[in-house]
């Protein structure tokens, strides 16, 4: 292992409701859903009709950009509904699940013995390909281009993040097979980053041919974007793929057992959860029963993912494609009388303008109130404090706002995706929608330059 890389700029937000390292019982729900909206810039083309029977691993839709990229059913059952939104955009493909999951069978084989093309073909046909995310832009990987390297962040520093020690426990064999499969995909290196503060999962030990890096520091030290930037910053024309450790396990299972089985360990966290802990949930599961049983009554927000980058879902919503984390926090849709004048012993702020700074170890209960309206983008020097990149965040954002492609490129847009700016958005005094801005910039670059 190389020496520890220290991340200085960043911010750990200490929230109430971290998961205890115990497991709760999750009863398999009646319905599951696959959501095209979980993927950046995806236009789905349906392969099934309502009423059709599918097995776990049968394709439901493919990407309009590349018809080889299939998106497959997480469980077996009947496709009951294709839910559409405005302009007939497909939001959810819902499956009424069988009692006993029937799996589509894929060959069992050792990926290290397979050719690169065979591995790619296996991942594409089984619906595991979409777990690979391509940078720049943070979109689906292109099977025709080999990446310069593959990066995996082996730990999560987001607020109330689950521990990979728990998630990967017992999955060591699958993880190793998954890594072996990834190795066939690139001539470059596989980089795995671990937390210097300890708690390294057993799955990361004894892997051969993997570059392990150790990172130390506040969030976003655990973001793969931060790690790429400090290990080998991306240049124009380079391609890097990223994948989450729990999805490496799904890849491994495919080769070891011949099944597409996206079951995973999910942390249910947040101040509104009665007993925050872990559950074994299959991707796409309906969460209504879980929320009914585990969440306090009241006006709350359900998030598939963490508070920084997760997606808002309904109480009757489904677990997202990439998520191993569910968060429930109070909604903040109330007016606070002269709140901006209060001493603010309970208010979270990176600045020391509220007296809560006197108590640095406080666990906060934060709601979704924006604490003010959007204003002119004038405060300088604050974004840099939580943005550990050699990039000028405010200047990059401004270049995106005016759509100046050349400047976006020269200021380093290839090195970032939305989540890298999540903390900037949290602490922005002017309440600018920063992740959305970054997303607009990425989509523009993709459209203009491909």
């Amino acid at each position: 292992m190389s020496k520890t890389i220290k991340i200085k700029r960043g911010l750990d937000i200490n929230l109430k409701g971290k998961a205890e390292q115990v497991f709760g019982e999750f009863t398999s729900p009646a319905t599951y859903a696959l959501k095209p909206t979980d993927f950046a810039n995806l236009t789905p083309k349906m392969l099934v009709k309502e009423g059709q029977e599918v097995k776990a691993g049968d394709p439901l839709f493919y990407s309009k950009m590349d018809e080889r990229i299939l998106f497959c059913a997480p469980v077996s059952g009947e496709v009951t509904e294709i839910r559409r939104g405005a302009k007939r955009k497909i939001l959810e493909v819902i499956i009424l699940a069988d009692k006993e999951v029937r799996f589509k069978e894929f060959p069992v084989s050792d990926p290290s013995g397979l050719a690169r093309e065979e591995v790619i073909e296996r991942l594409l046909s089984s619906g595991t390909w979409p777990f690979l995310v391509k940078r720049p832009y943070g979109v689906l990987a292109n099977p025709d281009r080999s990446p310069n390297a593959i990066f995996i962040s082996g730990f999560d520093t987001a607020p109330m993040a689950p521990s990979y020690d728990v998630i990967l426990n017992g999955q060591e064999e699958h993880f190793a097979t998954g890594i072996a499969a990834l190795k066939r995909l690139t001539d470059g290196a596989i980089h795995l980053s671990v937390d210097a503060r300890g708690g390294m999962p057993k799955a990361y030990e004894g892997l051969s041919g993997v570059n392990i890096h150790s990172f130390e520091g506040p969030h976003p030290a655990g973001n793969v974007g931060t790690q790429i930037h400090h290990i080998s910053p991306m240049n124009k024309g380079e391609i890097i793929w990223t994948i989450n450790p729990e999805d490496v396990v799904v890849l491994g299972r495919l080769f070891n057992e011949g099944k597409y089985n996206p079951e995973r360990v999910v942390a249910l966290t947040g101040s509104e959860v009665k007993k925050p802990r872990y559950f074994r949930i299959t991707q796409g599961a309906n969460l209504e029963q879980l929320f009914n049983d585990e969440v306090n009554e009241g006006n709350v927000r359900f998030i598939s993912g963490d508070v920084l980058t997760g997606k808002k879902i309904d109480k009757t919503g489904f677990l997202g494609f990439f998520d191993q984390h569910l968060t429930v926090i109070p909604e903040g849709d109330f007016k606070e009388f002269v709140g901006w004048l209060s001493p603010g012993f309970n208010k979270f702020s990176m600045s020391r303008t509220f007296f809560s700074w006197l108590n640095p170890n406080k666990e906060y209960v934060l709601d979704t109130n924006q604490h003010g309206e959007e204003r002119a983008f004038v405060i300088t020097g604050e974004l840099e404090r939580v943005f550990p990149f050699d990039i000028y965040p405010m200047e990059l954002l401004k270049s995106i706002m005016v759509g100046d492609i050349e400047r976006m490129e020269s200021l380093g847009i290839y090195e970032v995706v939305e989540e890298d700016f999540a903390l900037c958005e949290v602490i922005c005094t002017s309440k600018i929608e920063i992740q959305k801005t970054v997303s607009n910039g990425l989509r523009l670059m993709e459209k203009e330059l491909g």
Binding site: I13, L15, P233, N235, G237, I303, V307, L308, T309, K312, I329, G332, D333, K335, E336, F337, V338, G339, W340, G344, K347, F348, S349, M350, S351, R352, T353, F354, L366, T368, N369, Q370, H371, G372, E373, R375, A376, V378, T380, G381, E382, I391, Y392, M394, E395, S410, L411, G412, A422, L423, E425, V426, I427, C428, T429, K431, E433, I434, Q435, K436
Partner: protein, 394 residues
Amino acid sequence: MNLIKNFFDSTRPYVSEGGKFEWLWSVHNGMETLFFVPDETTHSGAHIRDAIDMKRTMITVILALMPALLFGMWNIGFQHYRALGMDADLMTNFLFGLEKVLPLIIVSYVSGLGVEFAFAQWRRHPINEGFLVSGMLIPMIMPVDIPLWMVAISTIFAVIIGKEVFGGTGMNILNPALTARAFAFFAYPTYMSGDQVWINTSTQEGQKVVDGFSGATALGELATTGTTHFSAMDAFWGTIPGSVGETSAFAIIIGALILIASGIGSWRIIISGVIGGAVMALLFNALAPVAISDVQKEFFAIPFWHHLVFGGFAFGMVFMATDPVSAAQTMRGKWIYGFLAGFLAIMIRVFNPAYPEGVMLAILFMNVMAPLIDHYVIQSNIKKRLKRATVKAA
């Protein structure tokens, strides 16, 4: 509290689009958000947000200004009664100053906010909070005896020409408060400089100014004679004549600590500004032997810390140079910007007898230069990125 809430709720239909008083929407919104933090929740991206907003930022700056303002009020009374050869207690001094300064503050806020409200409504924008600070800064950098109509005109000029013509808050090149002062300085020089304006010498029945009284500031004396009868200690505590809020380095340091501790003001600019001023003053010390006149020689030779506590240097570096909009925006840019602001302030002060105080002009000049500094700082980052790409490709 519910009463206020009901008032805003019940009046909202009238100011919404199509309502009878649509032209009051910005004011309505501005007032409502003043009373209530809006119930707006996050709808995209991160689900939680920092509690800080523009109002909190501005109120923190106002808080940081308070020691200098309160001291300034007391000092006005103190200077007044001293000029009359009278001994007044703390409260009498303070109340005298309060009576003189409060109208300045009110005029500055009313005229400035009036323009702001009008422009916000015209552009259909919510009202930006920036003027809350500018409106407090303007009276603090004026001489106490300036006529109120001059304050009003300077303020209106600063808001319109200094800010709104560029597109409003965040688009301005110059610091609005300094623009107001510069306007007053060049439009009404007799009210803004010299030795008549810094101390209120109005007399009542039976009072008269003491014999041999001089109303010159320390810098005024230094520029004409090379020495001053004020000690550096007087200047540090602030018992000297000067603009309303600028005299006490001690009160300003308290404000600086509030700004730095809360993370609102840039410590980089403040520190580098002080370093820049000190370096220039030391250079003058070294150059003293080659000065062209005796007066200049004496002025050159004064210790550098005197420069830091006399005049508006401390106030300018702490409250004016740190304005995030008109200062340099990059970290490295802030070091350069602050250093040069301090450096030039002392240079103008010593070299140019027409302007006994150089801080205002130095900061305004650096405001104009700040985008250039940022340009080169960012360009070096861009070059580094390009170089990395070519080295790797080769």
